[in-house]
């Protein structure tokens, strides 16, 4: 098989085609529930399904003969700080899990310490100090002043 010249777009094209199939199947399922000829909830999904498959195929073909991509390669090269970005995103994932268990305040404090340490590369002591100031400020503004109720967690 011919190797695509623009791999990221090729992957995007394949995902688009897959999405097209999924959306078409859902459109077909919704159509079977239609009670009258003007129950048209399936129309847009059907159009979108076909659109994804057609446009995805066109994009796939264009990635095989993509000339300009060579010039843009510099932009898609991994950065030396990519690990820091991945760690930050992982911290957000961890933060989401902690929110349910530990509650808003404790989870925010822990996630902030980690983010200050990862993004700012500050020492632990400074990261903790920054996190305390940030969590405290958010608590005062959003919980005390604006009265937004956040998850309390299982410990409180």
């Amino acid at each position: 098989m011919k190797i695509p010249k623009n791999l990221p777009d090729f992957v995007g094209a394949v995902l688009s085609i897959v999405l097209g199939v999924v959306v078409s199947i859902e459109g077909f399922r919704i159509r079977s529930h239609a009670v009258s000829q003007y129950t048209l909830d399936h129309t847009l999904p059907a159009i979108l399904g076909v659109l994804f498959i057609v446009l995805g195929t066109m994009l796939m073909i264009s990635t095989m003969r993509d000339q300009e991509h060579e010039q843009d390669k510099r932009r898609t090269l991994p950065s030396p700080y990519q690990n820091r970005m991945i760690l930050s995103l992982s911290t957000l994932g961890l933060y989401f899990l902690m929110l349910n268990i530990m509650g808003y305040l404790l989870a925010t404090l822990i996630a902030s310490v980690l983010l200050f340490r990862i993004v700012g590369t500050y020492r632990w002591a400074r990261s903790v100090a920054c996190a305390l100031v940030l969590t405290g400020s958010l608590y005062l503004v959003f919980i005390k002043w604006l009265q937004i109720s956040f998850p309390a967690g299982i410990f409180f």
């Binding site: 129309t43 999904p45 994009l59 970005m85 930050s88 959003f142």
Partner: protein, 500 residues
Amino acid sequence: MLMAGFSEAITPGNLLMAALGALVGTFVGVLPGLGPTSAIAILLPVTAVLEPTQGIIMLAGIYYGAMYGGSTTAILLNIPGEISSVPTCLDGYPLAKKGKGGPALGISAIASFGAGILGVIGLVFFAPVLADQALKFGPPEYFALMIFALTLMVSLSGTSLLKALLMGGLGYTLALIGLGPSSGMPRFDYGSSTLAGGLDMISIIIGLFAIAEVLKGIEEKRLTTVIGKTGRVYPSKADLKKSFAPMLRGGIIGFFLGLLPGCSAAISSFLAYDMEKKASKEPEQFGKGAIEGVAAPEAANNATSSAGFIPLFSLGIPSSPPLAILLAGLMIYGLTPGPVLFEQNGPFVWTVIASMFIGNAMLLFLNLPMVWLWVKLTKVPYGIMAPTILMLCTIGAYSVRNSLFDVLVAFFFGGLGYLFQRYQWPIVPLILCFILGPLLEESFIQTMAMSSGDLTILLERPISFAILVGAAIFLTISMGLNRRTQKRVKEEKQRGIDVA
């Protein structure tokens, strides 16, 4: 009506929100790496605790404040926060290198103020007329209008129209999740009651714009930058005299282009710069520090931004990414953007318009005597800013529906948005179609029911036919202007200007 708007706009609460919006907007405009779209996205849920008028006044203030502030980094750091600020860099930065950064910032603020006011005056006269005509719209006209809005994708497509169309399709698909409008049956829920409730617009916007932007900033290891002396901010009489005509020309070009839905501020600022260069008696000075090269694009940029409120308020069509988020804001407040907005919420619209006059005056004050403060603020370390923004994003996503699922959606779309930006898949068509998707589907279903399934009704009714013809004309103009702007951006990138 406008006077009534003024009397409402000068109440302490509204004045405070206009000032706060202008202040926050200038702040985010000054900071490289956080544009008006991200700022509005983050603050949209926070403003939900305010009254609709105050909330939209603040968000509008952020929008035009960021347009003002964006010129500061363009002139002092050669970093245009938005593509529309690229032409400002061309002469602004050489002026800053000569120690004339202050007068360049001064002219930029005056040009932005003059053009902003020109745009708002246009808004006062044009928007009600357009909205009045649009009141005659029925479902086929609305459906035609949504098709018109689709033509925006061409101007927002970035480097690839194919990818823009796919992203638009993804936006529509995400909007389909939830209950079907005609049957009330859940779609794309896969047995999950959470998905049957649909995806929240704000979480997606926060993820795609704000979180993705921060992740990009972390990867690029954004740092604070050392800036040289800016000199005195107030421009000399000679500078003002030289800049007056370019400001006027730039403002007029920007305003009329801003009336066309789909014509971005980038198009008008490049066009104004190029036209000024052609009209100048000393074109060789352009690119080396001509003050006219700052005045014209800044005026055009701000006039287009203000004029963008005309299609937004009167037709419900956003012409730029921040206006798309503002459209979402209007919807969150339960306001119907489009023709009925003036009829149903007249006092609200006129108060917001009146506050724009006040906000622009406030911005002139914020940008002239206080420019030293903004220069200092560019020194806030990214290591402090990024975690703070991420925590605010979490609160923003959660607070709309008090749902942790929305936080997860924001984080997921943050990661996805980062990938989209990295591989140059345009995000704005996705958001535009996500916002317009339900309106398009509803008007389509109503049109089909009205015409017994015959779509030729769109060609039989004069207004819907005129809208479709208009869409075709705008599409052609848009494609031509977009191609021209892309060519110019490419040229400037080759000369070393990198858009943040």
